[in-house]
Amino acid sequence: MYNLLVGGAAGQGVDTAVNTLEALLKAAGCGVFTVRDLMSRIRGGHNFSLVRFGEETPRSHSERLDGIIALNEETIALHRDKLKPEGFILCDESVKTDDSRAIPLKLQGIAKLLGSGRAAGSVAVGAALRLFSTPIDGARRVFEKSLKPGLVEMNVKALEAGYRAVEPRFERVGGSHAGEMILTGNKALALGALAAGLQFYAAYPMSPSTSILEYLASVSLKMGIAVEQAEDEIAAVNMAIGASFTGARAMTGTSGGGFSLKVEALGLSGMAEVPLVLVDVQRPGPVTGLPTRTEQSDLKFMISASQGEFPRMVIALRHHEDAYRQTIRAFNLAEKYQIPVILLSDQYLADGTATMPVPDPAKAEIYAPEDVPAEGGYARYRFTESGISPRKFPGTRDGFVSADSDEHDEYGKIIEDSETRIRMMNKRMGKLELLKRELEEPQLLGDERPEVLLIGWGSLYGPLEEAVRLLNAEGKARYGALVFGDVWPLPDRLLREKAAGARALIHVEQNYTGQLAQLIREQTGIRTDAGILKYDGRQLSGEEIVRRLREEGY
């Protein structure tokens, strides 16, 4: 596996260069994984991406760089300390650096000769690929997909010029990923939603969730669905509830601040028993925080948001394939139990790209309730043996369909009596018990019988996978990691089992307070022995987990 950093100012073409790189690496068979480190601004500042590639698709970034593509001087200054001794720095010849690893090229010169300095990135990408002994055959096709027709030829030439400018240095890696997709976590989630039958998406722009809205909008005409930018997040969630009530599979997405505004309507979905999928793409808080960076600090908020008590499910997304699969599952669980299901993602996963096999959307199982005939007049909130009231939609001739935010009777009419209240509460809360049968245990990574058990959730999957691999390779002890996807209700079978056998339990989280560890203590009584926490908006790498574990003495 190799690690390449591409850095420059916002607007300098870091993204274009990375896209080209990714596409050509994939075309050469590599599994690719990229994380994006962005500043909250449109131009200027310093942005960089870490592109990692190898035979298998990596699931996390690494701190040890094999190469740097520096579109400006700052990039070298900021990142050279992570470059391996044998690594390289591709930069324009004008850049002043005393680093012996630098390979100054006429990036600008070549690009300008070809017509525009904007092609400089392509020159660098060509050179980098040559250094990694990777062919660039598919270049034209790649540019045809990503660029305006007029720019294709120039960039192909720039890429080729870069390719010719250096000699191969690293052994070629590759695999069988050429036929896979390459996509961000947000797109994987969006595809899952479409496969699950999404008909209505409403949202208000907010980093890092906006690309779900934008992607769905861009395909809405093809798919024949409605994608609506709402006037605010409150409208977005209430629209999604209205759409779902009327019979369309509906979703709404945002980040923490927008979710805060959806809290009341979250309860409406629970009370009115209207299925709803909500996405929270986490970023560092509180409030505006660090808008374009990553964190896992909304867990407890998701579990207890909104006044009163009602059943809900919270699923943390671990990686790209998980995002696709869990989104489909979220729609089915929301519909089956008529509850809100929250998908908890974060910037690391949402903006990060990875290669991933093309799933078969026709095989996506779509929950379809039996059409129960209305006995004696349809009652939306009928007390049934199963605990679930059959759903119908406005327009049915079987009766009238209602939704009510007040406490209500079976027909959805306001009540205040104690008996009906208790029955309705029991009916709703009973669904939490039913949900428990649907829970997926966390994924166990590393050793089957770990002595040291790491516990994490969501997008730390990749870094934890890497960490236990590195740790077990050392062979000093048996390390394992449990990475939770379902976080509420909390599955506890595997945790109890593995915790019982481990000598140390360590939670690893991207937050200050160790929220999963707290939840585990509340739900199971199990205490962790130490925690590795990070809350500066940058994701832990596998290497950092290992390092800090050592510091903690495990």
Binding site: G224, G247, R397, F400
Partner: protein, 283 residues
């Protein structure tokens, strides 16, 4: 009307409340439009007015305070075969829900929005609503309301609404006709309904309104936006009721590339082949 297809139920309103006539007018309007109750979706927020959807035999959505419009618009978006009608209060629609009011006018989904305008928050016992007159004394506005009253019809016209009317609960026949027109109108249609609250508004009573309201006559040109705005500013000794402004403009559905051909999203599934094509674009 004895052969009505719509039943109404016992209410929790105070005896003498202006809401009763509104319920009657609505029932009659729906009957005269020969709508099947199963195709009608009544939407409300929270408040006295917003209970109306609970009191008539149709589909109903009783959501959150201030949030009646977004689910109503969405319901219509996903199933245009439904007749979607909002009945809610002035606090609900213009106060807590003010942002949705403005922006759904701009969205122009084909729904009718009937606002029971009693100038108070009835269900919470009489505080000033946005339409309260300056100087109104309430348990919160102890020295009288200081705020410039919200003029819903003027605001609606300014925001671009295509159908803007004012009705009066004390003129149920006239109100019924307004409701019919609003429901028939293609696009967002507003009827602000003057509704005496006998418990908390001792100023703007049936008598007070009866002395002031007058019906716009045939001469009135409801198509002139500038004139309509001027007319909308008339609220004092004389209060015009009727359709203040009407002008068809493309609805949300008519302009929407997906929906313009009558696509119903409710109950629909996606074609996996199309999803696969999207995936292949990422290869």
């Amino acid at each position: 009307m004895s052969d009505s297809r719509f039943e109404t139920f016992e209410t929790a309103w105070c005896p003498g409340c202006g809401n009763f006539n509104i319920l009657d007018s609505l029932k009659n309007a729906l009957d005269e439009l020969a709508l099947d109750p199963h195709d009608v979706l009544m939407v409300g927020g929270i408040g006295q007015a917003a209970k109306l959807p609970q009191y008539i035999s149709a589909n109903s959505f009783s959501g959150l305070h201030g949030r009646a419009v977004p689910p109503a618009a969405a319901a219509k978006i996903v199933n245009p075969a439904l007749t979607v009608i909002i009945n809610s209060g002035d606090g609900d629609s213009y106060g807590e829900g003010g942002n949705h009011f403005i922006h759904n006018i701009r969205r122009n989904v084909d729904i009718a929005h009937f606002i029971h305008d009693n100038q108070v928050y009835g269900l919470t016992k009489g505080q000033a609503s946005p339409t309260a007159d300056k100087g109104s004394v309430t348990p919160v506005q102890v020295e009288g309301s200081l705020n410039i009253p919200f003029n819903p019809v003027l605001m609606a016209i300014a925001a671009g609404a295509g159908f803007v009317a004012r009705g009066f609960s004390g003129r149920p026949e006239h109100l019924k006709e307004l409701m019919k027109q609003a429901i028939r109108f293609k696009g967002y249609a507003l009827v602000d309904i003057l509704q005496p609250c006998v418990s908390f508004n001792k100023v703007n009573t049936f008598a007070w309104y009866s002395q002031r309201v007058y019906e716009l006559d045939k001469e009135y040109d409801r198509g002139d936006r500038a004139a309509a705005m001027l007319k909308s500013m008339e609220f004092g000794d004389r209060i015009p009721i009727g359709v203040l402004y009407q002008e068809e403009q493309p609805t949300f559905h008519e302009q929407h590339e997906v929906l313009k051909n009558g696509q119903i999203l409710a109950g629909r599934k996606n074609d996996p082949e199309l999803v696969r094509e999207l995936m292949l674009e990422m290869v």
